[in-house]
Chain length 189, copies 2
């Protein structure tokens, strides 16, 4: 691999913080690991993409299967503090922000355009949660011709067996599954 980029997905207050409306169990536990991977990418000056879910306050851009829950508990609404990236992973000015309103970081965004423009051939994926935003992003990245690396201890899911089953499927389409401690060697060469 020659040109890696890091994707950090949905690490926003509404999904991560204790007591937040859509808090995902396990999300807080990976913050330190995502942060460690982020520091490595910063150290080697590789591009970093912070991918965030942002919704209009009327919910018109929410998936149909989430209309009911959004009506009860609006989440990651534009301009709210809940939609903000958690402090520990705050982007620098040079890092990219990708706003999405679907699971995949590629759907209706300019992520592919930016990656191509930067000559990236490999994406490292971190964040939440494994079966949904992580997996759809990994499968789309593979479909668009990128090598994919999943940093296993920097992603999380609500359910451990779901997490494992999804790792298995991603490995089956050629995704390289690594732990955070292996990332440094992969991106330093």
């Amino acid at each position: 691999m020659n040109k890696p980029a890091l994707l950090i997905i949905d690490m926003q207050n509404d999904f991560v913080r204790e007591g937040a409306p859509m808090q995902m169990p396990g999300a807080e536990q990976i913050i330190a690991n995502v942060r460690a991977v982020l520091e490595m990418f910063r150290h080697y000056d590789h591009p970093v993409f912070h991918v965030v879910r942002i919704h209009r306050s009327d919910g018109s851009d929410v998936e149909i299967f989430r209309h009911e829950i959004f009506k009860k508990v609006p989440f990651t609404v534009e301009g709210t503090s809940g939609s903000g990236i958690i402090d520990e992973l705050m982007p620098t000015e040079r890092e990219y922000i990708i706003r999405k309103n679907r699971m995949s970081a590629f759907m209706n965004t300019d992520l592919d355009l930016l990656l191509r423009s930067l000559g990236i051939d490999t994406v490292f994926v971190t964040g939440i949660q494994t079966p949904n935003c992580i997996r759809t992003t990994v499968f789309d990245a593979a479909a668009f011709g990128y090598h994919t690396v999943l940093v296993e201890d920097a992603v999380a899911a609500r359910d451990a067996s779901v997490h494992q089953a999804n790792l298995h499927d991603m490995a089956n389409i050629g995704t390289v599954i690594v732990q955070k401690d292996a990332v440094c060697d992969l991106i330093s060469s």
Copy 2:
């Protein structure tokens, strides 16, 4: 649900037939069930989409993680009998053919455009295989705003536990999982 359409995915000779280069174990066993669902859609005159994977003979449009296998054993190459839809599910002249070269039936195809133009609000998904082409299509359909119904005994995967784990994840995003015998009631109203 008001306007359903049927998607039949990748039921092509190279993936289904005994001894075919990329035969998927389990694919032959679902032919009768897919056929039964197809007959129901024909009976009620709902749109049917035959989604097929078609590759250029030089493999330039194959996913990078399949380059090696394609080089050894080319599959579903344009113009070959292996790329053809199996006889049992042969499309009629009024049914739609969608050619793709990625997993999702929506990627780089006009499937969404056709479904919208026809006023379809619900897609029924059948074919192979559960963790890849079936699941990516289901997740993209949900992202594009369609209700999704998976006909469990009309899809198959190489591995039973992978199949089950994927059904679980699809149910979690609101996909209705049914058996073929339940389809008639759902599309006749």
